[in-house]
């Protein structure tokens, strides 16, 4: 049996990711509905971040092989996103008239947007199998 990813530290990740999913969705929703024209790129990036947080939360909660792959993909895109947008927002602040979740490497959110995907990737990379042979069992189940 693979070790569960949605208990222990995984449950903390589920909780924090769930919270970020709600917060980012609401923030992006308000920005897009109320003032989309002011900074469309920023608000679309916020919306993208929100979708990633939602999908990552769902993947972690499911915890099966597919869910883990889903979460891993989200963490990877998220890490690339926060590094790219963080760097750009420092080098070319004029491109981002309003802050996104990822601006300044997530400084508006206590740098959690930078820390979380790293933590998530480390968590998922933990040895999954308690015994040998579980790999075959796992792949036949899917």
């Amino acid at each position: 049996m693979p070790r569960p990813v949605n208990t222990g530290l995984g449950r903390v990740l589920v909780f924090v990711y769930g919270l970020f999913a709600v917060a980012a969705t609401c923030r992006a929703g308000v920005q897009i509905i109320m003032k989309f024209g002011e900074a469309p790129v920023s608000y679309l990036l916020s919306a993208l971040a929100a979708v990633l947080y939602i999908v990552a939360t769902v993947g972690l909660v499911r915890g099966d092989a597919g869910g883990r792959r889903l979460a891993q993909a989200c963490f990877t895109v998220e890490l690339i996103g926060v590094l790219a947008v963080g760097t750009l927002s420092v080098l070319q602040p004029q491109d981002f008239p309003d802050a996104t979740v990822w601006s300044g490497f997530g400084e508006g959110y206590g740098y959690l947007p930078l820390v979380l995907p790293v933590l998530g990737l480390i968590w998922l990379r933990r040895p999954q199998q308690a015994a040998t042979g579980a790999v075959t069992e796992d792949s036949t189940v899917r």
Binding site: R11, V12, V14, V16
Partner: protein, 118 residues
């Protein structure tokens, strides 16, 4: 919105965070002390949001209504929600969840203050 309410909410939330994260460090699952702390923080949150809504009815409206409502709702639900999820995880990580949520409450207090333009 009286400043004393913001300060009180921040202080009890930070105390709960300290208790919960200490419990996590000592490898303890959420216990009665954290439950009492969660209840106190929840009461503080209800009083704070209640005072904000009261002053809104009194004519002092928030600068961004939607944002204020979002933060207010989050602050009312967060401590109880963290307790429920924390109890689902009867290990030190349950205490981590309650501690992390308690750390977010002061941020919400700060943001509500900004949105309200106290």
């Amino acid at each position: 919105m009286p400043a004393v309410l913001s300060t009180a909410t921040t202080v009890v939330a930070l105390l709960l965070a300290a208790v919960a994260l200490l419990a996590a460090a000592l490898n303890r699952a959420p216990d009665r002390v954290q439950l009492i702390g969660t209840v106190i923080v929840s009461i503080a949150a209800v009083v704070l949001v209640g005072a904000a809504v009261a002053s809104w009815i009194g004519g002092h409206s928030p600068r961004e209504t939607t944002t204020f409502l979002g933060y207010a709702l989050t602050m009312l639900l967060l401590p109880a929600g963290a307790w429920i999820v924390g109890k689902m995880e009867p290990t030190r990580f349950g205490s981590v969840i309650i501690g992390v949520a308690a750390l977010i409450v002061p941020v919400l207090v700060l943001r509500i203050g900004q949105v309200f333009g106290a």
